[in-house]
């Protein structure tokens, strides 16, 4: 499984990421999720979110999750970027792409990964006004 993980302070260039996708003749399905910072956080208007990360543990927990995902679904490639530090409203804080042979697997694997990430990867949101 191709695996690329980044915890980055820079803004996420989604077009460039999509443009750099490697070719495959066995993956029929590519599913890509972007989490965007909303202007309302728990019904309060915010200008952005400050993401705090315990980086070494976050990387380890991400890799444990990817190991588990790889064991459960035939994922041929996973690329994930989580932005850390200040992210203004309207910008992408999470970008994650999976490639699998078939469509159903891509939906199941990606939904599972994001759900688990939100339980296990030590990142915290601090809205800024």
């Amino acid at each position: 499984m191709e695996r690329w993980l980044s915890l980055s302070e820079s803004s996420i260039d989604e077009a460039a990421l999509v443009g750099s996708r490697s070719a495959s003749s066995t993956s029929g399905a590519v599913l890509c999720f972007s989490g965007v910072v909303r202007g309302l956080e728990q019904d309060q208007p915010v200008d952005g979110i400050d993401y705090e990360v315990f980086r070494a543990m976050a990387e380890r927990q991400f890799h444990l999750l990817l190991d588990e995902m790889e064991a459960r679904w035939p994922v041929e490639s996973i690329r994930l970027v989580h932005r850390v530090g200040r992210v203004p409203t309207g910008e992408t804080s999470l970008w994650v792409e999976v490639r699998t042979p078939h469509r159903g697997e891509s939906f199941a694997a990606l939904a599972w990964l994001i759900e688990q990430m939100k339980r296990r990867v030590p990142i915290w949101k601090h809205p800024y006004p």
């Binding site: 989490g35 315990f54 380890r60 927990q61 939100k118 296990r120 990867v121 990142i123 915290w124």
Partner: protein, 83 residues
């Protein structure tokens, strides 16, 4: 025989304790729960969050019954919320 354990606080636990890390002396052979008792005595502001507190030893999640290895770095933090 006591041992020294480093404890790190993340997210709003750092605000509640007023610090990002402390060193704590515990008896040799202590488990994580005994360290937590010492922490809650020193930082009672954390007590209301006990049931949802997440615990890691180094980079892995741990439970209150787990043994504390010598030289452990323990992290305490509220529920995570990436994404």
């Amino acid at each position: 025989m006591t041992m020294t354990v480093a404890v790190q606080f993340w997210s709003y636990f750092a605000s509640l304790t007023g610090t990002r890390s402390v060193e704590v002396e515990v008896p040799g052979g202590s488990v994580v729960g005994e360290l937590l008792d010492a922490i809650y005595q020193r930082f009672p502001a954390l007590i209301p969050f006990r049931s949802s507190t997440l615990i890691a030893i180094h980079l892995d999640y741990a439970a209150e019954a787990d043994p504390l290895p010598a030289g452990a770095v323990v992290s305490l933090f509220p529920p995570v919320q990436g994404g």
